[in-house]
């Protein structure tokens, strides 16, 4: 599938230690209803499986990783190494409740961004607007400002 056949492909899954499937399945349904092709790797997906899916689908618009059980940081520990090895090159969007304990404090968000996570979303309804924004930024060939603010 080439980028210009208009097919918008997304790689979706839940982080390695997390088995929460509800949001994952609802997001897959939602994106498919919006016309996206969704490769849903399901719950408990190690980062290496996401990387393999990226290799298989180089034109994926983004990798969406959900995490609710508060272990996002441990589950994404390999991201810097994978990125250094030239893999998982497309934007990585992480969503859900990304840290153990109360609200996700900025310090915990900072830890994830430091790993190389490109965007953090608290709410699934923000996914499609973000994907549209990233695509338009790519199309104007402007180098996308490394914008890691929470949408």
């Amino acid at each position: 599938m080439t980028a210009d056949t208009g097919e918008r492909l997304i790689i979706l899954g839940v982080s390695e230690s997390d088995a929460h499937a509800v949001a994952n399945q609802l997001i897959a349904m939602h994106l498919r209803e919006q016309g996206f092709t969704v490769i849903n790797l399901g719950v408990c997906t190690p980062l290496s499986d996401f990387a393999a899916a990226c290799d298989q689908h180089p034109h994926a618009e983004a990798v969406l990783i959900g995490s609710l059980n508060g272990h996002a940081y441990q589950d994404l520990a390999e991201l810097p190494a994978l990125r250094a090895a030239g893999r998982l090159r497309c934007p990585v969007i992480v969503g859900g409740n990304v840290s153990v304990g109360q609200d996700t404090t900025s310090e915990q968000r900072g830890r994830l961004l430091a790993l190389g996570v490109d965007h953090l979303l608290a709410d699934a309804s923000r996914i499609v607007p973000l994907l549209d924004m990233l695509r338009s930024a790519r199309n104007t060939h402007a180098t996308p400002a490394h914008d890691a603010r929470i949408r």
Binding site: S17, D18, A19, H20, A21, V22, Q25, L26, M29, H30, E33, G42, V43, C44, T45, N69, G70, H71, Y73, Q74, N97, S99, V100, G101, Q102, D103
Partner: protein, 459 residues
């Protein structure tokens, strides 16, 4: 059955039996007392990584009036990642979302057991819990949660049901042996499953099958757990149906203690409303004559509750079960009707399996063909074709029963109950919006019941 490395750390069997025979109150005493008084036992969920903090947490919650206390095991330990659990315990225990029981070992387990006068229960979610079970027994704990289906499909991605049913069969066999020696292990069965919009007949059918399998191994005490839907008549009917199904399919030599898990869906943010729902869960448990209710905390939607939030959850649950609400009556005809529907649906799901000889094989095959299924399965070994939906009154019905072998009478009843929903809601909204709204049932009520006040920093 156990890895040799782990076996080496365990005490001799006689020592374990001695620990199990220490004076109670044992879990079965508490559950029988609850049935006798008509007041459900109250149990919080609690589990932190550090051992001393766990001791303090149990002690504090022990003073709140809770009848049973919990050791919730962390995600890594439940998946057998003992090295990761050990590393986190050493470096950053706060990053553990539960108590790493295997890493801490049975001696520390006994210390937890001995520190509070209440029976402890180990809650986890492991597909293969034999290590955890061994250490729990060695720690003197005789309340253990889990089953071959309930601790597979909602928690694990790709573990064959044959494997988990097999590993839990061995655990149940040990319980059978212990029962012969007069030690009753209470086996709680996780009917909550994926915990979101779970149709009662699926929850009750699956825990009934797990209970039947356990009984065949000699288990004499089961606690089928049911997740509160939030519609009072349906919840009362489901709790009553558990006792009826126990008598009908498990015979008289197995004690059946229905358990209510308070509403697991997303929780409201306003503290007063969250506390009200927690009290409401306690009331549901008492009206449904549950033996036990597992309480929530107002912090549910944020993360792991701290001791104070947990204590508040326990107090509010106890208030819901208190005699102050003994005046409450319900529409008995409506409850009886809901119960009759549940009993009919469970019959249609389980009777084909009870008639076959190989119960466990039949269950595996049924999940492969969708004749057994759950909504939102984490595991690839269930179709997840079942789509639930709330009717106008808030009760959970089948919007799509998938390949479940329901009679046409059952199917048309659910269709009729859902068609009565306000036309607008059904037509315009997408499936995800409608399901999310049903999941957020209590959140939306918060907006209509309480005005849109910001989250006020109330005392």
């Amino acid at each position: 059955m156990l890895s040799s490395r782990l076996k080496a750390t365990l005490p001799r069997w006689e020592q374990i039996m001695e620990g199990l025979r220490e004076p109670g109150p044992h879990i079965v005493d508490v559950l029988r007392m609850a049935d006798a008084t008509g007041r459900p036992a109250v149990q919080p969920r609690c589990g932190v990584g550090d051992h001393r903090e766990m001791l303090r947490l149990l002690e504090e919650l022990g003073t709140t009036g809770a009848d049973v206390l919990t050791v919730t095991v962390d995600s890594h330990t439940r998946l057998g990642q003992y090295a990761t659990a050990q590393r986190l315990l050493r470096d950053s225990p706060d990053d553990l979302n539960g108590y790493p029981l295997v890493t801490h070992g049975w001696r520390r387990g006994r210390e937890l057991r001995g520190r509070v006068p209440h029976p402890l229960q180990v809650r986890h979610g492991s597909p293969d819990a034999r290590d955890l079970f061994a250490i729990a027994l060695a720690s003197g704990v005789t309340a253990f949660e889990g089953g071959g289906i309930g601790y597979n499909l909602p928690y694990s991605k790709d573990v064959p049901l044959k494997t988990t049913l097999g590993s839990w069969q061995r655990i149940d066999a040990v319980c059978g042996a212990l029962a012969k020696d007069g030690v009753l292990v209470d086996r709680e069965l996780f009917g909550t499953l994926s915990a979101v919009l779970m149709p009662p007949s699926i929850s009750l059918a699956i825990t009934l099958l797990e209970a039947a399998a356990a009984a065949r191994e000699g288990v004499r005490c089961v606690s089928p757990a049911y997740p509160q839907s939030g519609e009072m008549h349906q919840d009362i009917a489901a709790l009553r149906a558990i006792r009826m199904l126990g008598r009908r399919y498990l015979g008289t030599d197995v004690e059946v203690f229905p358990v209510l898990h308070e509403f697991m869906g997303p929780f409201p943010r306003t503290p007063q409303y969250a506390n009200f729902l927690i009290m409401y869960g306690g009331l549901t448990a008492r009206l449904g004559r549950a033996s036990k209710v597992v309480s929530k905390t107002a912090k549910e939607s944020y993360g792991i509750p701290d001791a104070a939030a947990n204590a508040e959850g326990i107090l509010n649950t106890i208030l819901g079960t208190s005699d102050l609400l003994d005046f409450v009556r319900v529409d008995e005809d409506r409850v009886a009707e809901e119960e009759s529907w549940i009993l009919q649906e469970v019959g249609e799901l389980v009777e084909p399996l009870f008639s076959g000889e190989d119960l466990l094989g039949g269950v595996v095959e049924a999940f492969q063909t969708g004749r057994l299924d759950i909504p939102f399965s984490a595991s690839v070994h269930a179709h997840s074709d079942v789509v639930p939906a709330r009717d106008r009154g808030g009760a959970v019905r089948y919007a799509d029963p998938g390949a479940l072998p329901f009679s046409s009478a059952t199917r048309s009843r659910h269709a009729r109950q859902l068609s009565a929903r306000t036309g607008a809601a059904r037509r315009t909204t997408s499936l995800i919006e409608r399901i999310t709204r049903d999941i957020n049932y209590f959140l939306d009520k918060e907006r209509t019941v309480l005005p849109a006040i910001d989250e006020r920093p109330l005392p």
